[in-house]
Symmetry: C2
DNA sequence: AATCTACGACCTATAGCGCCT
DNA sequence: GAGGCGCTATAGGTCGTAGAT
């Protein structure tokens, strides 16, 4: 009934070898020890239930096997899909993933929270960090102080989307995807568009809105929280104002979901009375009724590539931007 | 352009004080030092960009501030909602959370993976661990070897749902919720039921199926993977077999979503031709069309309580089981 | 034929690592 | 200022074999 985990010295003593030898057979890779001793050490370790203390290893080695992931909200399908990809490659490489959520976006306070999170992360001395939630426009906020401190201290950071200068980043063609969507929708016969956007400070939001409006110049834009509720409220207000666009583009599928419900609550039929399109192509998008037209992003792959990029020794030649693919579905029927 | 993080000794030297003093003002809680020294140390720390190495602190203190969360699949709304709750309380208490995914359930292999994950977790010396994905029936698997090693080594573990004996656990009234749902559905006039279940080895599945069938005795049961695809396939097969139950209960909302699409693909209208109900009440359940009838579980709260339970010094008097609430919606209209 | 030095193979002893008490 | 946390890394020791003298 040992109530404390056995240490290496105990294992070494039990096996009758030196600490160094025990360390080598249990962890060290290079030097090898004679088979019989090796066997004895392993046997002792097993019988004592030894498990190396990774914290101590990290201190001794001067490098941890922890990677940190920063997201906005893990319950959001966008982030959880990315997290899934990150965790997959971490698992392959025997790395431990720690996750931090910066919470819903709420102006300056969020920037502060984000920086606090990054500062706290530094304490972990992670081998790499993936910023999936660093969403604030501007070098100062996203890539300046906090994130800057990372690169300066030689820690490897990769941002998803709009990379702050000087930071590795996985480029996502938000603007191009949104523009392509706009073109398709116009080709379908829609003419009167309205855009449901998140906070304008978020780069991702700006890119998607700008991309969409580069094709559909006159589209009216409405900002709201970056969530299902935000989409719901924005759409409800839009309808309450008497507007009846024939197609609404929500910059996020999650917002589109809320918008769709709002349309329904107003006694209208999504798809038929008002077409609806989103962005991200989250897992459930195609299962909605009507199935939601969206711009597909390989979220898990993005997460995986982000971690690989962050882990790389050399900043790596800039990979091509992740391309977004338009998926037309029943929520935007052809006229 | 320092490429290495400054250490405490550097800060101490810079401030002209002893290591111990610096340690006290920057981390130690008890003893306090004179204001002027304190200020000097803080100034040095700031100017050097010092950030305590938590790994080293953990080794020195003999206790880490890491809590581990084990889930099946972080991209599944059920798990990500729970994770959200866990992360929230961890954040409040200044703890770091690491997440491990055991992957989709796949028989014995999954049990092995789960144990491997737990073994790896031991190396982290977490202050507490929350098992949200430990889903296998039987003491041996879920609470036996691996998990047992934790409690034996005095680490604090809490399981969500069916607790293995000897493990702290958050009880969830799966059976009661499913039974209540069955009663409500029968009250609505449904008589011919079919159940879409996940792998029978999972306790959660068993409890929900058994609870439902304790009310609706004759219900036919069909097992499939514990996912959207599983629900889709099972429903497609059910329909292909020529069966036309008037109400189908999927043990999980995620499965219900797949089932709903399968119903539609068969040219039938969910709700009208075949009623559909799920379990969990994931965020998007009410936004589906028809809105999905489900049994609501406070997932984030469950996660939060699980971590609190795991963290508690004393095993805590057994709290009441989490009660599940039936939410009747449009997918199961009254006759 | 016996001794010496060389040398690889292997292990032990012992400094650290960054921090706490 | 000293000692310790659990572990890594490396200098330095021991031993056995082998070619040189």
């Amino acid at each position: 009934m040992s109530d404390k985990a056995p240490t290496l010295v105990e294992v070494a003593a039990h096996a009758g070898v030196s600490l160094a030898t025990a360390s080598r057979v249990l962890n060290g890779s290079e030097r090898r020890v004679k088979p019989d001793l090796q066997e004895r050490v392993l046997a002792s370790a097993r019988s004592l239930g030894y498990s190396a203390n990774v914290q101590a290893q990290a201190v001794a080695r001067g490098t941890s096997n922890v990677v940190a992931l920063v997201v906005g909200d893990i319950a959001d399908p966008y982030f959880s899909s990315i997290a899934s990809g990150v965790m997959h490659v971490a698992d392959e490489r025997g790395l431990i993933v720690t996750i931090t959520a910066t919470g819903p976006y709420a102006g300056a306070e969020s920037v502060a929270r984000e920086e606090a999170a990054l500062a706290a992360l530094r304490g972990q001395r992670p081998r790499a960090v993936v910023l999936a939630g660093s969403r604030v426009v501007g070098v100062e906020a996203a890539g300046g102080s906090a994130a800057g401190a990372f690169s300066a201290s030689s820690e490897r950071v990769a941002a998803i989307g709009s990379g702050a200068p000087g930071l590795r980043s996985i480029a996502v063609d938000n603007a191009g995807g949104a523009a392509a969507l706009a073109r398709e929708l116009r080709g379908l016969g829609y003419a009167d568009f309205s855009v449901l956007a998140g906070p304008p400070e978020l780069v991702t939001v700006r890119e998607r809105v700008d991309g969409f409006r580069s094709v559909v110049l006159g589209a009216d834009v409405r900002h709201a929280e970056f969530s299902r509720e935000g989409g719901h409220r924005a759409m409800a207000e839009l309808l309450a104002s008497g507007a009846r666009p024939d197609c609404v583009f929500a910059v996020t599928d999650v917002m589109a979901v809320g918008a769709m419900t709002a349309v329904r609550e107003a006694g209208l039929t999504p798809g038929a009375d008002i077409a609806l399109a989103g962005f991200d192509d989250i897992p459930l998008a195609a299962d909605l009724a009507p199935a939601l037209t969206s711009v597909s992003l390989p979220l898990a792959e993005i997460g995986a590539r982000a971690l690989e990029l962050a882990l790389a020794d050399t900043p790596a030649a800039d990979a091509p931007a992740i391309t977004a693919e338009v998926r037309l579905r029943a929520s935007t029927p052809g006229h």
